[in-house]
Symmetry: C2
Amino acid sequence: MLQSKTHDIIRFGIGSPGADAIPAALSTVGAQVVRDSASGVFDYGPTEGDAGLRAAVLGFFRRRHFAIEENELLITSGGMQGLDLVAKLFIGAGDLIVVESPTYTNGSAVVRSYEGELLEVPVDGNGMDVDSLAAQVAESGRTPKAIYTIPNFQNPAGVTLSLDRRRRLLDLAHRWGSLIIEDDPYGDLRFAGESLPSLAELADGRVLVVGVYTFSKVLAPGLRVGWVTAPAEVIAKMIDARQGMDTCTNVPLQRLVAGVVADGTLDEHLVHLRDLYQERRSVMLSALAEIFGDLGAIWTVPDGGFFIWLTLPEGCDMQKLLEPAVDHGVAYIPGTAFTAVPGRFTSAARLCYATTPPARIREGVQRLRDVVVAAYPWLVAPGTAR
Amino acid sequence: MLQSKTHDIIRFGIGSPGADAIPAALSTVGAQVVRDSASGVFDYGPTEGDAGLRAAVLGFFRRRHFAIEENELLITSGGMQGLDLVAKLFIGAGDLIVVESPTYTNGSAVVRSYEGELLEVPVDGNGMDVDSLAAQVAESGRTPKAIYTIPNFQNPAGVTLSLDRRRRLLDLAHRWGSLIIEDDPYGDLRFAGESLPSLAELADGRVLVVGVYTFSKVLAPGLRVGWVTAPAEVIAKMIDARQGMDTCTNVPLQRLVAGVVADGTLDEHLVHLRDLYQERRSVMLSALAEIFGDLGAIWTVPDGGFFIWLTLPEGCDMQKLLEPAVDHGVAYIPGTAFTAVPGRFTSAARLCYATTPPARIREGVQRLRDVVVAAYPWLVAPGTAR
């Protein structure tokens, strides 16, 4: 019988930055911003975003990616709203929409909320399998309206779309006339390997790419501040749509973000975060090698971001195991949460290393093994019955 | 030739609180909230709203209206998002949706964004004309899916739906099985007459009423914090929908609002605002009586809120006059902005008295007269040609 540790849960489940990853400047700059009440900080802001934040994001984006024009940018209420906006504009009932498999469930939920039809394309260690994509689309007899991808350190699989695949994905999108929705919440959190150009940059105007970005993972999710990049005519339509959604993003926290982007706090903080997450990833990878090495499990090796995708041998049911796992003091998200295909990813789990201090990560992995082995003893004694 | 005063515009156009109507506590409480970074203020919040704000709103709403259950409340990113949510859930292509005429354009824009078909029902001094509503619905040969109304100090007409009409509106909605969307941004800003029970309260469960509220007019619009009340099963669906919209409302400003609601600041501030707006309304009404009295104009007399609806004699085009008016230093919103019916409200304008200090209101009304008379001299010399 496993010991109950519900008082002391190690949280590999939730995909948000830990409390120790929130920069102190949010408090100091935030306090300055709300004190300056004469600045209009409490008034309605422009729907396209506060001028100061727009300037700061344009500069940040240019340094990180490539130069965009002012009218190719929209500030949003978090990355999710970016996804909602692009879906609202482009996705209608019955449209075929490609998503990764596994995929970010809130992303595919947006597609479904506009009655789009999902085509799930498997990912491997190099991101979405574009050969499979081509084959699945051919088989479907239709061309996709849009392709939704998280190219960097994908949620939930942690994998990155290779440069070669980026180019081939763009070729396919060009041939089909498909829109690409490039969701990139983690791109600035690369701690290994070389930065790859974004799909938007590689497309160079040949394919319509809407880029969806957020400050949730690099500053804090509670701010609800993100941005979208797209051709000017798409941004103009999104601004119109926002009028009937939430009018504008809250002004005080836009100014807070503008402050910490403009004064260099974010750049410095990113250096810190990359070290922090690299260490946590490495600790989790070592723990998995040591503690799961004899179970026939496999896992991905992310070059950045928050997530490792763990797959146990067939016959293990990670959804069924969640309750005993939480009772034994470790949480994760079962793989089945990241697909709409019944029976897929039953033996998989998303593990987030970002939120847990290194010293606790090993303990969490050990607890997970305890639970797995207690439920499936045949994993360690191959002769026994399943 | 009128003098150009574009350096010094008196803004009767925009419908937001003036800088002098923003409570200082937003700065002090806001600074406290963001300093307390260990409280999870920068983390994702629950989709239904931060617990502290939910408790504060439940108390505030109970004192002001009637008791609702915890699961009948959803915190939203401003009132607009409340409208978007109810439309997303209930309005589909071709649904007949009743709106007031004139109506709040962003409200009717939301209806249209879900491809609802508008039925504009005239308002008079007692709000929506329910006899006309019954007749127009009968004539249409269909029953409305929803009725969208701003019952208190309506935007843009400033009028209030009488108690008798509230009851008859509910009877009609009950007979038709229509949903009522009760948009009440100004209800707490009554400075004359007696408070009327909300449609939700009068419905007493007999008709489905979704109440849409916001802190934009009583605290500050830049916060983007509002709330929705509805039966628990509707709120549950809205929470699901929010997951694919903006996930949750930003946490720091929810906590700010929770602070100023819970500590009594809002109640005190409402007393101040009612005095402030009553004075401004009275100054504008006096100025209109004195300055527009000989032009054959009529205007509404609001018991609260922000707006007076001014109607000039037929033949005046207030949309055409906007540019010369702004050039002469006074802004307003032309009546045509509040209807989708071509040719309607051409000679009308929405005047917002809330944003302008009393000493300037008279000057603004005078400027407006100057512009009107310069363009339509026949108003003051009835013998001359139009």
